[in-house]
Symmetry: C2
Subunit: 210 residues, 2 copies
DNA sequence: TCCTGTGAAGCAATTCACAGCT
DNA sequence: AGCTGTGAATTGCTTCACAGGA
């Protein structure tokens, strides 16, 4: 069965909420309660979960711990993913320091740049390596996910280097699609912040009055 | 007619591509050519555009300049939007320096923080103001969009302050939904980077072999 | 001939409604 | 009574196929 992409997006939201509930010591949650923390309906939550199995108890809702574990297993087949950042500019450096993903099991362990001035420096305890050593270093450390934050002009130089490596996934902050050959080989997810701005201003303009 | 959200997302991608083409001096583009820069089909592009009008010439494609202008008008009813950043931590500061939106007409002009140490400082030429002065300053400067990059714990303190202001749109990097009252009043767009990580690892795991 | 614009068809996702468990 | 899980109905989106203009 083909699982809708939107379902995957929502599942990761549910997981985030469940983790919060768990921290708060809450043991049980119903689809109705969970929907209060998201923009979805209880039916949608149950349908989404049903793609992957039966996790609830009829009449009683879901066990927070169990559901958390199950959803984690659905979304992550490794407990810890090593992640690197390509492009140690302001955004790349910030993400390295920010490191909001570590608690979720995505650990930023290295940065790469082509600026000799930067190479060897440390950002938030992570070393900046030369982009030339990308394939070796990533393989040695066991990095399979890269966050791409290079300037747009650098994209063409970078792509073949990534392509040669063992990288399996890219989060791409560069406002340009990687070429089709790269995308076929490596799963890429585009995050275009300028696009978000456009969308937001459209939504503001066309906000429904209530 | 109700315009699909996905259409709005794609339209902003088309706009980005058109701007690039314009810079390169390209005058004409067909839906087929444009689809080469996106993940869409020519039919989808034509359908998306048809929600808003007829912009092409049969047999000849689209005039890049004209279409750019039209799409900009669809997505932005103001030429320049002033934007502020709430939370001058590493992510907020990076976005202020990064400023990739300026060329798109979204200009970051101020930051806000609650740390007395930071207030008065300058980041990329933008002053950091006290969060207490948020409603006055934003109104004075004419800021209608805020980028929210505060730590999660600060959310509850921040929300009533934003609510009291003239802010109309929020790009929310905090991995938590704002409360429904705020969301009804202010258009919010959530950008959860940890969620992207989860989605990426799911996609890696379930990548279709070809 | 080439390309746009668009109804109609086809497909996919969401919502409904209820059976069944506790 | 309260809640899950899920076929069926519905809604919404995308793709098809073609009329019509340059």
């Amino acid at each position: 069965m083909e699982i809708p992409f939107a379902t995957i997006e929502r599942i990761s939201t549910y997981l985030r909420c469940l983790k919060r509930l768990k921290e708060k010591g809450i043991k049980k949650v119903s689809s109705r309660e969970l929907s209060g923390f998201t923009k979805t309906t209880p039916e949608q939550i149950r349908k989404d979960l049903s793609y992957f199995g039966r996790f609830g108890k009829t009449g009683a809702g879901y066990d927070v711990s169990i559901l958390t574990r199950k959803l984690e297993r659905i979304l992550k087949h490794k407990k810890i993913w090593n992640v690197c950042i390509i492009g140690a500019g302001s955004l790349g450096s910030a993400l390295a320091k920010y490191n909001a993903f570590k608690t979720e099991g995505y650990d930023i362990v290295a940065l790469f740049d082509n600026d000799p001035q930067k190479i060897g420096n440390n950002i938030g305890g992570k070393e900046i390596y030369s982009i030339e050593s990308f394939p070796e270093i990533t393989e040695k450390i066991g990095i399979e996910i890269a966050i791409l934050t290079v300037p747009q002009e650098a994209i063409e130089e970078i792509e073949p280097i990534i392509s040669k490596s063992k990288i399996r996934g890219i989060i791409n902050f560069v406002p340009q699609l990687l070429n089709i050959k790269t995308r076929r080989k490596i799963t890429t997810l585009d995050v275009d912040l300028a696009q978000k701005m456009y969308i937001l201003s459209y939504l503001i303009k066309n906000k429904k009055e209530e």
